[in-house]
Amino acid sequence: MKKPDVKLVILGDVNVGKTSLLHRYTERRFKDTVSTVGGAFFLKQWGPYNISIWDTAGREQFHGLGSMYCRGAAAVVLTYDVTNWQSFAELEDRFLALTDTASADCIFAIVGNKADLTDECASVPHPEAERDACPCPSPVSTTKSHKQVVKEDAVALYKRILKYKMLEEKQCQAAEAMCFETSAKSGYNVDLLFETLFDMVVPGILRKRAEGLSQTVDLMECKGTGPKSSCCY
């Protein structure tokens, strides 16, 4: 059995398109989705490495599981919907705390999805008025929506996250490089997002191997590398 070397977790509010992004990347298409229940586990072969990916549910109902999915993660993708300010605000309010269980050198990416829906010119800054709207995002329409979150907001959030994690920006990637705008529908920037992250976690895998040490108890147990050992995820 393939043994995952590293873990990547996708977080974000309901309906922002986490599952769609992963589908687009793995299956090269945009298909109908159902709201995720709990979390879905995938294994991705990346060169000689196996990367495990958790596509988590955005529903508040499953909030309690979040820290379990994040445990020991090497990369966390914080996803929002560019047409929905609330989905962006939730990242800080609800999801950031879940990443406390992630690996100490965890890589963060901030992803604004559904870029295809926005009409760049129509973008408006933080529409406070719409924040307290109904909790369910409005259904996808064919007309262009207002862009509610611009890339500068994401960059600012990224810097706040580094501060929260007590990391220095110069040791990490430049904020601009870690904020993506994507469209699962058109495929825009989707490969770029995943492949950038995969490339970034590889040094971590090598470092870990070199050290011969692992971050978590789980990893300790399976240093024997028996073919059937159940850990090392």
Binding site: V14, V34, G38, A40, A57, R59, H63
Partner: protein
């Protein structure tokens, strides 16, 4: 169909009397049903030739003239019930009398929403103990004394199915505020005169999104066969089967007004009968569930369906957290937690409307040679890890095998309803087909307050027909449970199990070898020494003429009707011989089984009886293939108390709560 059949004539005569009379006859005594019919249950021999009541029935408007029915009824076991009802009736009469004016206002309010609901409620306040039937023309409000039957939610205090045109249909001796249902099918605005067939309407399993976007003021919205609403006690909308809950908030407000008005009189509203709708209310903790149905399903059945909806919500949130949330904040918007779950509830309601498992409260397992089933069970039995409690293999939405942890099975058994909820979750979330799922799930009948953690994965991608479901009590066990799946996969590969499973066919009724038999549903009751077994039923594939969805629904409706008659709380029946236009049905319940059969319309009573005898013999012979005889067990927990109900679940719940819900409030 032969209209000169003697029964038909008899029926027409016996019916014409009651049709002519302007109002329903209120039978103070049980209906004049036959008493000297002998029913020999022991030997599977039926005797339908004795004098028996022949009922006519209006299953469908156009069938009106074409049906006869032989009913052999069990009586004399309802005296207690009737007495109870009697008292309730009195009580209500009192309280309603005092507040007659207020009641009138509330009902007027309903009237003003008639355009939305077609609720023709012209119930007059009562003036004295004697019910003014002639005055109450259209509506019937069925209210029940609080607490008197909270538990027996399957009983309905008034058994009248207002779509029946049948002299034996009447309210209980002292029905509460019962009015004549006034449902003259010939009259204008008869329920079947709608432009679209409800069956056709129902058959479209169209996407949930379009249902959500439906215009709730449109005629098409009103024509839906069965609406289901869920609201909180504060009147906040939580779920609507069709249309957006937001758009329906005023409608739900009226429902809540009705509920709380009746509550203020220390009563519980249970149902409202109108000319062409039945409105059934179920209150469960802080949630109110309402079903508005145009079909002829019994109140009892609708009530049970609402119960399933409640259970599905509980399976996602647990009863305890729902209660706590509303204790803290009465007007909490539960959709915050359920957003995204609508498709699961939509799926459940479609499932309930098309699969007899819910009606029969039994699990449908795929017929399988016992050697193959045993080998699959053995594979599951060998792939275990601590805290694993159930290993379930599903193919084509039916059960292949289930293996349970020893300690758990001694504690309690898995209820069919819990398994249905799991199957619905898998069915409604086609996204499960990718990846391996790990999700908390509560099995409300097993323990309404604890979570299990479900591992769900398909074993045959990309076809995705064979699904493995592993339930653990340990939230952190994903990786070790996933490892069990690898082992199961491995064993199945070496034994070629997937090919064997792919070859499994549900059986055809032709295999039974009984001419004229078109379809049946057979549910054996647990025999005492086997009581830990899962309740199951068996049924062949629906074939021509029921291969068309519309016909399938029609047959299912007839089964539901027979089921409601068999299980009527006022007058349960043992045997029904029902001659319809396109088929003849026979339903029979004994201490050992419940059986529904469907024959071609040309069958005679004698040949139907012979056919059933043959069918029962065939089932006996095939028993090992048709049912899971002895669910195997394994032991995964060195400390048996750990895996059992309550203890572990409790701590997990705490966990979820602390991490999740409470922080929101």
């Amino acid at each position: 169909m032969d209209r000169k059949h003697p029964e038909n004539e008899e029926a027409l005569q016996s019916k014409s009397l009651s049709w002519c009379s302007p109002c329903l006859i209120d039978h103070a005594e049980p209906a004049p049903i036959s008493t000297n019919v002998t029913l020999d249950v022991g030997d599977s021999e039926l005797d339908l030739d004795g004098p028996s009541l022949i009922e006519r029935d209006s299953f469908d408007n156009e069938l009106l003239e074409k049906q006869t029915e032989v009913v052999i009824a069990e009586r004399a076991d309802n005296i207690d019930d009737d007495e109870k009802e009697d008292k309730c009736g009195g009580l209500h009469a009192e309280s309603l009398d005092q507040e007659g004016e207020q009641m009138q206002n509330a009902l007027n309010e309903v009237d003003s929403y008639k355009s939305t609901f077609s609720l023709a409620s012209k119930v007059q306040p009562k003036e004295d103990e004697c019910i003014q039937k002639d005055k109450c023309e259209l509506g019937k409000l069925d209210i029940e004394d609080e607490g008197s039957s909270e538990d027996r939610d399957l009983s309905d205090s008034v058994s009248t199915d207002n779509t029946l045109e049948d002299s034996s249909e009447f309210g209980r001796p002292a029905p509460v505020l019962a009015g004549s249902t006034g449902n003259h099918i010939e009259g204008p605005g008869g329920r079947m005169s709608g432009p679209s067939s409800p069956l056709l309407e129902q058959s479209g399993g169209s996407s949930a999104l379009s249902h959500r976007d439906e215009d709730v003021t449109a005629e098409s919205w009103r024509l839906h066969r069965k609406h289901v609403f869920v609201l909180s006690e504060a009147g906040k909308p939580i779920y609507s089967r069709y249309g957006n809950e937001e758009a329906l908030s005023s409608t739900m407000g009226v429902m809540m007004a009705l509920v709380s008005f009746v509550q203020s009189g220390e009563n519980v509203i249970r149902s409202i009968y109108s000319e062409d709708h039945k409105v059934v209310f179920v209150q469960q903790g802080p949630l109110v569930l309402v079903s508005v149905s145009r079909g002829r399903q019994s109140e009892q059945q609708l009530r049970k369906e609402l119960q399933y909806v409640y259970y599905q919500i509980i399976s996602m949130l647990t009863q305890g957290s729902v209660a706590r949330i509303f204790e803290r904040k009465k007007n909490y918007d539960l959709r915050r937690l359920l957003a995204g779950s609508e498709k699961i509830l939509d799926g459940l309601l479609n499932f309930v409307d098309s699969d007899p498992s819910f009606l029969l409260s039994a699990v449908h397992c795929l017929p399988l040679s016992s050697s193959l089933r045993d080998s699959l069970s053995l594979i599951l039995q060998k792939a275990i890890t601590p805290n694993l409690v159930f290993s379930i293999l599903i193919a084509k939405n039916q059960l292949l095998t289930i293996v349970q942890e020893k300690a758990v099975i001694e504690d309690a058994r898995l209820e069919p309803a819990d398994l249905h909820l799991l199957l619905n979750l898998i069915r409604a979330s086609s996204a499960f087909q990718a990846g391996e799922i790990w999700t908390p799930i509560c099995l409300p009948l097993f323990n309404p307050d604890g979570y299990f953690y479900a591992y769900i994965s398909y074993l045959d991608p990309p076809e995705c027909t064979v699904c493995l479901l592993l339930l653990s009590t340990d939230k952190e066990a994903f990786y070790s449970v996933a490892e069990c799946k690898r082992r199961i996969e491995e064993s199945m590969r070496t034994q070629n199990s997937l090919q064997s499973i792919a070859a499994i066919q549900s059986y055809s009724v032709v295999q039974v070898g009984v001419s004229d038999l078109r379809h049946f549903m057979y549910k054996p009751f647990d025999v005492p020494d086997n009581c830990k077994q899962l309740t199951q039923f068996t049924s062949p594939e629906m074939e021509a003429p029921y291969s068309i969805e519309e016909e399938r629904h029609r047959l299912f409706d007839m089964y539901r009707y027979l089921h409601s008659r068999i299980h009527s709380s006022s007058r349960p029946l043992k045997l029904i011989y029902h001659v319809a236009e396109k088929e003849t049905l026979l339903a029979w319940v004994t201490s050992k089984f419940e059986l529904y059969t469907c024959f071609s319309p040309l069958v005679t009573k004698t040949s139907a009886i012979n056919a059933i005898t043959k069918l029962l013999r065939w089932i006996k012979k095939e028993e090992d293939r048709l049912f899971i005889r002895y669910p195997p067990k394994y032991s995964t927990t060195p400390n048996p108390s750990k895996g059992s109900r309550g203890a572990k679940g409790g701590s997990d719940r705490q966990d979820m709560t602390d991490n999740g819900f409470l922080s929101l409030l």
